[in-house]
Point group: C2
Chain length 411, copies 2
């Protein structure tokens, strides 16, 4: 591999985009905040490999920021999508696949008695809040400081265009700090509708933190004591750590959970799952979208869940993620570099000790990219079930050269 990759097509596309897209690009896929080496435009992918608009190829450690869980162009998912597309996608009513998918979710996710579908992760987190408010007749929603639950005015991390009223019913606690949650619950008093929580702390740009099971159980008890809904935001993690919800392994069931990203291996789909107690609230609210009942993503979702189970997808991600972690941790030590490699191995994040302005993280990411591994300096990475031993080896070869560059930079 060469580190002078061709960027001709990407540069030309960026120039054209600057004319017709505000800021040249927006949202989480804008390459503007990334090191200059990153391509903005992507052309294709297969398994755990992707290539950009100039044909440069990479081992994919971002998986489209989560959606691709079985690997790009997974044959079984693509075949299910094609078969459904040959019949119909967006119709005057849902296809039979919607019922099958709802049944499959209910059978797969322990706390789920019912399912609703939408398009965005933010649709799902927002629906959970609306259902909790409808069911309880209360207004107040607690979220963790710094947690990302979507990009509508009530939750977007950047305040431009957001009004005070959009957030007047939010309260805050600190992740893994049960005393702070208790205080926020007390402050909300009789107006507490729900506590929203992520399966683990995966806030952008900082070391990740696994959930303390006692904290999770404590939130469950606070909700039981107050009648508020416990909402698990499984949008980013869902189907990477477990099939039965990301808190199934620690044995804590939410009342409502929000899903999207990986549930249809890249096809546009979101889901809200809920318990019997919140079914009436869910049937009271009015939510909808022009494409929420479309059949192709639902067929892809069925195939994704079945493939994850039958092909041992979670285990495959754990295996590849563990090999990647062990290799990277050993490499860092061999270069005498102090790193933090945090989060579940399927969704790791790497920072360098004391690297507060991300100088080392950006240098590492840029050099890894040049050497053929697509990872991210400010966002957790994602491992897919398609990662082979060769893919892990290629990612580690790139990481080793990236560590060398950091070592050289530090002198």
């Amino acid at each position: 591999m060469t580190d002078a990759r061709n960027r001709t097509a990407d540069g030309e596309l960026r120039r054209r985009a600057a004319a017709v897209i505000p800021g040249g690009m927006y949202g989480h896929q804008s390459a503007n905040p990334l090191p200059a080496q990153y391509p903005q435009f992507m052309a294709g992918g297969k398994g755990a490999r992707v290539w950009d608009a100039d044909g440069n190829s990479y081992v994919d450690l971002m998986c489209s920021y989560g959606p691709v869980v079985l690997g790009h162009q997974h044959p079984r998912v693509e075949e299910a999508a094609r078969a459904q597309a040959a019949l119909a996608d967006c119709q005057n009513g849902p296809a039979p696949a919607m019922v099958e998918l709802a049944e499959l979710f209910v059978a797969t996710v322990r706390h789920a008695d019912w399912a609703m579908f939408a398009k965005n992760g933010t649709d799902a987190t927002t629906m959970c809040c609306t259902i909790a408010r409808a069911a309880t007749g209360r207004n107040r929603i607690l979220v963790a400081h710094g947690a990302y639950h979507g990009a509508l005015p009530w939750c977007t991390p950047r305040p431009a265009g957001v009004t005070e009223a959009d957030r007047v019913n939010l309260g805050h606690y600190t992740f893994n700090d049960l005393a702070s949650a208790r205080a926020a619950v007390e402050e909300a008093g009789s107006d507490l509708a729900a506590i929203v929580v992520s399966p683990f702390k995966h806030d952008a740009g900082i070391d990740q933190e696994l959930v303390d099971p006692a904290f999770a159980r404590g939130l469950r008890e606070l909700c039981d004591a107050t009648g508020a809904a416990l909402i698990l935001d499984d949008v980013r993690c869902g189907f990477r750590m477990a099939l039965g919800s990301s808190w199934e392994p620690i044995g804590v069931d939410p009342d409502l959970s929000a899903w999207s990203k990986a549930i249809a291996n890249g096809y546009p789909l979101a889901a809200v799952l809920g318990s019997e107690a919140f079914r009436a609230g869910a049937s009271e609210i009015y939510v909808t979208g022009s494409f929420w009942f479309a059949a192709v993503p639902m067929a892809a979702g069925i195939a994704t869940i079945n493939a994850l189970r039958e092909e041992g997808g979670i285990e495959a991600m754990e295996r590849a993620g563990t090999a990647l972690r062990d290799g990277i941790v050993a490499q860092a030590a061999s270069w005498g570099l102090e790193i933090n490699y945090t989060g579940p191995v399927q969704m790791p994040y790497l920072t360098f000790a004391g690297d507060e302005d991300y100088t080392l993280g950006r240098l590492f990411a840029a050099r890894a990219l040049e050497r053929g591994a697509y990872l991210h300096p400010r966002h957790n990475w994602f491992v897919s079930a398609a990662m082979t031993d060769d893919d892990v080896a290629a990612a580690l070869a790139a990481a080793d050269e990236a560590f060398a560059a950091v070592r050289k930079h530090l002198g």
Copy 2:
């Protein structure tokens, strides 16, 4: 055609859905409020014909509630989508198709200098409001009484789970009543961020009302005078009445416009288009979604716009819609029934005079459905460019039997 259509599969699917989907179904595609004859589950479609889960077929006068504008399974759109899908859909960054689509929108829609893409019509209307607030630094948004702009808490027509704060920054005017808009603007004072307006009045369940061009010009002047954004909600109408925005024919340009439904012939896509003056505001806000950068719907959008232009799609819808209107109006007269057939011929709506509880409308719709025309008793209909003379004739044959049933009911 028989009026004792098979409902075996639909009934069984409904029974299963009732167990795993709150209320059995939700949103605009729930068949619960429709006459019992309507199927809940659909299986396929081609051109202007659709069939349900039991294989009963219909002339499609709903077009998936708008998205299908060129007809189901339009060859050019399907081919473009398949070609893009063979490369990639949801990746680590957008595909080159995103730039091409943004350029095509800017070239096609007169007021547009830039484009952003999302998944839901509600994403687009909400983004317009957020951009207007970011650009103006103000909070207040005016909407017409009874207008539908989506299904988030700030705009959903059903209040369950909605808090007071969600709507505290809304003001209201009456569509086509400029004095009421002036009064609302005055009440908002220096806090006016935007006026949201639909191309014509298409509120559910009531006769439609075309826009008075003087009203549209008056809103434009109010926004010019106050520095507020004029936001055209073209989600439902976009690409059915004109390619250059639904207000292009009357010569009034909004600052921002929201699009979805028909822009990719059923593939999931929404768009915000805006003028140069609001580009900076658009680049300040943070909005995103896991599937917003996916390539397949963008490739489908490019093919849809090109096909609409090159195949004369707007004219084809006008032609078929005019034949349908002329036939239905003549039929009603011949049966001695007084009807209101309102709105553009591409998006008509039929009510019976004095039918306040929809008894006649539901009877008409139920019988038309049994005779093979899928239309709606409480929502405007949609004509696609795929409607042939045979399709119009089949729809009219069904309508004539439906009028006969209404006549018989009235005695």
